[in-house]
C-alpha cells in the first residue's frame, strides 16, 4: 500500500478525538480517518486505502513517518487495520518503539530504494515486496532489487520468539533492587 507523503504525523494516523477508548481494540477502523472519510463518514475515493486496486500487509510511506505524539494508538490503528510492516526511509523514534512493542516491523530503507518502491507501485498497482525478518532483507519484487535493514538483536528476538519485555524487566528484579540500594544519589 503506497503512501508517498512525508512527515505523516500521528494525528493523521489516528486523530485525537479517537483516543477516548480504554482498550486497544477498534482503532483500525479510524486509521487515517481524516484522509480516508469525508465529513459524513463516507470513504473518499482518492485516498489509497479506499482504492480497491491496492491491498496488502505492507504500508510504504514517505520519510519521517510517525512524527508527533507518543500515542501508541497510532501503532494499534496500523496493526488493527492489518498492516504487519511499515516501510519508510525514516521513522520518528517513539513511533518506531511503539510499533515494535506491538509486533509491527518498521523497515528503514534508503531514499533511493523508497523512491523505486513508489515508482514500481505507480507502474503496477499489484507490485509486491518481500520482507524477511530473519535475514533482515527487503526485496522489491518488481525490480528484483533488495536491501538489508537494521533491527536490534533483542527486538528481533522479541518479534521472532515472542519474548515479553515485562517478563524480561522483572527477571532482573534483584538488579533493580540492588541499583536502588547502591545508587550515588537517590531521589
Amino acid at each position: 500500500m503506497p503512501l508517498p507523503i512525508e512527515n505523516v504525523d500521528t494525528d493523521q494516523i489516528i486523530p485525537a478525538r479517537f483516543l477516548k477508548a480504554t482498550t486497544r481494540e477498534g482503532f483500525g477502523d479510524n486509521l487515517f480517518a481524516d484522509w480516508r472519510y469525508d465529513k459524513e463518514g463516507n470513504p473518499k475515493a482518492d485516498f489509497v486505502l479506499n482504492n480497491p486496486v491496492y491491498s496488502g500487509q505492507v504500508l510504504v510511506a514517505g520519510k519521517n513517518f510517525g512524527s508527533g505524539s507518543s500515542r501508541e494508538h497510532a501503532a494499534w490503528a496500523i496493526g488493527g487495520y492489518g498492516f504487519k510492516v511499515v516501510v519508510s526511509s525514516f521513522f520518528a523514534d517513539i513511533f518506531r518503539n511503539n510499533a515494535l512493542n506491538n509486533g509491527i516491523l518498521p523497515v528503514v530503507v534508503s531514499d533511493a530504494f523508497l523512491s523505486e518502491l513508489f515508482a514500481s507501485s505507480d507502474k503496477n498497482s499489484q507490485a509486491t515486496v518481500t520482507v524477511n525478518l530473519e535475514t533482515q532483507t527487503i526485496v522489491n519484487n518488481e525490480t528484483g532489487h533488495s536491501e538489508s535493514f537494521e533491527i536490534n538483536a533483542y527486538k528481533k528476538a522479541c518479534l521472532l520468539e515472542g519474548l515479553d519485555d515485562i517478563d524480561f524487566l522483572l527477571s532482573n528484579k534483584d538488579k533493580i533492587e540492588a541499583f536502588e540500594q547502591q545508587r550515588a544519589y537517590a531521589y
Binding site: K39, I94, L169
Partner: protein, 460 residues
C-alpha cells in the same frame, strides 16, 4: 569527559542487554487519562502491582472540559476515561490530582510547579512533550502505553542510547522575541526530523539568560524536531526555582541534593555526535505557515516557492499549503484570523499570561476573534488572579477558562471549526490537530496577543 546527558544516563543504568537496549531506572513517572488505561489493564491481566507507587503521579488533563469542571463531564466516553484513571489510582494506590484538585493541571505544568521535577532525574510520561522537564537538567522523554506498563511494573524501561547533539544559542535576544520564537526558528532550520535519534543539550548565553519557564518552552518543543528530548544544565536559575516547592528536598536533604546537582554539567571538551550554533540576533517573532512545526518563518517573511522544496517533499508541501489555504510566495502579515489560543504545556504558564496581558492591557479584543485563554494548571490560574491579570484581561474583552490541554489537541469541545484560522501558542499545527479542518498558525504569546487585539497577523 562526559556530557550532561551521559552523566545522568550512566547514573540510571540497571543493566544492558547484549546487542540490545539498556534497562534504565526511572525516578519519576507521570500519567494521564489518555495513554494509561490499557497499561493498567495490562498490569491487572498479569496480576501485578505497581512496583514503586510513590514514584508515579496521575493527573487528568487531555480529555477534560475547560468550563464547568465542577459538574460531571458531559461526554460519556470522556467521563468514562477520566473515571477509569481515578479508579486505577485507587486500586493501585497512586497519587491522583483529579478535576477540581488544587494541584490539577497539565502534566508538564504540575510536575515542575510542585517540585516533582528535579535535576539529574529520569522522567517519563505517556506524552511526547515530557521533554519539557529537561529544562531542569533531567533526562525526560515521552513513551508509549506498552512502556507505561513497563514502568508501572518494574520502574524501568528498555531504551537504546540516543546520540547526543548540542545546540548553542549565542548572543542576546531581540525585543519581543521569546523562547517560543527560538524554538520555532530552530525547528525551521533543522526540520521536523532533524534531531531524530538524538538527545539535545541546549547551551549558550541566550539559554543561560532564559527563565525556567522559558527553558521549559524551549525543551518542550524538542520533540517537534524529532529529538528524544532536550535538556539544559541546571544553574542558580534552576535551584532558585525549585527551592521551597512542595516535593523539593528540604533542610539537610536540600544541601545534599544541591551538592549533587552542581556536578550536573557537560565537562569541558566532552564530545557530542553533532553540534549546531545559532546567532539569536537573527531571530524575529516567528509564525508557521504549514502543517508541521518545521514550516516556520519570521512574521514578516514569505512562504517558500515550490522550486525551493526538495523533489521528494513537493507533494507534501503542496498538500500542506492547500490545507492551509495559502499560496507559495505569499506573505502572512496582515492576514485575518478567527481564533486565538493561549495555553498548553508549551505556553500555559504564568509568564506567558503576563506577556499576553501586558500587550492587551488598555486595548480591546478584535470582534472577529474568538479567544481561548486556558491556564496550564489551577496554580497558574490562581496566580493570574492574585496578580490581578484576570481583571486586565476582562477589561480587554477576554475571559479565563479552567485548566487542561484544551485546544492544543482538541480532544474536548475546544475545537476550531473547519477552515478557520487559529493563532495558537501550542506545539503542533498538524492537519486537524485543533479540530477537523482547523488551520493552525503556531506563535508565541506576544504574537498571539497582537493577533487577538488586531484580528490579524501583526508584529507585536
Amino acid at each position: 569527559m562526559k556530557t550532561l546527558f551521559d552523566k545522568i544516563w550512566d547514573a540510571h543504568v540497571v543493566t544492558t542487554v547484549q546487542d540490545g537496549p539498556t534497562q534504565l531506572y526511572i525516578d519519576r513517572h507521570l500519567c494521564h487519562e489518555v495513554t494509561s488505561p490499557q497499561a493498567f489493564a495490562g498490569l491487572r491481566a498479569r496480576g501485578l502491582k505497581v512496583f514503586r507507587p510513590e514514584r508515579t503521579t496521575l493527573t487528568a488533563d487531555h480529555n477534560i472540559p475547560t468550563m464547568g469542571q465542577d459538574k460531571p463531564i458531559r461526554d460519556q466516553v470522556s467521563r468514562f476515561q477520566v473515571d477509569t484513571l481515578a479508579k486505577n489510582a485507587e486500586e493501585f494506590g497512586l497519587i491522583y490530582y483529579g478535576l477540581n484538585n488544587p494541584k490539577n493541571g497539565i502534566v508538564h505544568v504540575i510536575g515542575p510547579e510542585n517540585g516533582y521535577t528535579q535535576p539529574g532525574m529520569t522522567i517519563v510520561c505517556g506524552d511526547s512533550h515530557t521533554s519539557t522537564h529537561g529544562a531542569f537538567g533531567a533526562i525526560a522523554f515521552g513513551i508509549g502505553t506498552s512502556e507505561v506498563e513497563m514502568v508501572l511494573a518494574s520502574q524501568c524501561i528498555l531504551q537504546t542510547r540516543p546520540k547526543t547533539m548540542r545546540i548553542n544559542f549565542e548572543g542576546k535576544l531581540n525585543a519581543h522575541v521569546s523562547a517560543k520564537d527560538m524554538a520555532l526558528y530552530m525547528i525551521s532550520q533543522l526540520t521536523t526530523g532533524g534531531a531524530t535519534g538524538y538527545f539535545v543539550e541546549y547551551a549558550g548565553e541566550a539559554v543561560r539568560n532564559l527563565t525556567m519557564e522559558q527553558r521549559m518552552t524551549l525543551c518542550n518543543l524538542s520533540i517537534e524536531m524529532g529529538a528524544r528530548g532536550g535538556l539544559v544544565a541546571p544553574d542558580e536559575t534552576t535551584f532558585n526555582y525549585i527551592k521551597g516547592r512542595e516535593f523539593a528536598p528540604k533542610g539537610e536533604q536540600w544541601d545534599k541534593a544541591l551538592a549533587y546537582w552542581q556536578t550536573l554539567k557537560t565537562d569541558e571538551g566532552a564530545a557530542f555526535d553533532k553540534e549546531v550554533t545559532f546567532d539569536v540576533s537573527q531571530i524575529k517573532p516567528m509564525i508557521t505557515y504549514g502543517t508541521n512545526p518545521g514550516m516556520g518563518m519570521p512574521i514578516d517573511g514569505t512562504i517558500p516557492q515550490l522550486e525551493d522544496i526538495d523533489e521528494s517533499g513537493k507533494i507534501s508541501f503542496e498538500k500542506s499549503l492547500k490545507y492551509m489555504g495559502f499560496a507559495p510566495g505569499e506573505k502572512l502579515e496582515g492576514k485575518q484570523i478567527d481564533y486565538v489560543f493561549l495555553g498548553s504545556c508549551t505556553n500555559g504558564r504564568i509568564e506567558d499570561f503576563r506577556l499576553f496581558t501586558e500587550y492587551v492591557k488598555g486595548k480591546k479584543k478584535a470582534d472577529n476573534v474568538t479567544a481561548w485563554l486556558v491556564p496550564g494548571s489551577w496554580k497558574v490560574r490562581k496566580q493570574i488572579e492574585e496578580e490581578g491579570l484576570d481583571k486586565i484581561l476582562e477589561e480587554a474583552g477576554f475571559a479565563l477558562r479552567q485548566p487542561g490541554c484544551s485546544a492544543c489537541l482538541a480532544m474536548n469541545d475546544d475545537k476550531v471549526p473547519a477552515g478557520k484560522y487559529a493563532v495558537s501558542t501550542s506545539n503542533r499545527n498538524f492537519e486537524g490537530r485543533q479540530g477537523p479542518g482547523a488551520r493552525t498558525i503556531l506563535a508565541g504569546p506576544l504574537v498571539a496577543a497582537a493577533a487577538a487585539v488586531n484580528g490579524k497577523i501583526t508584529k507585536p
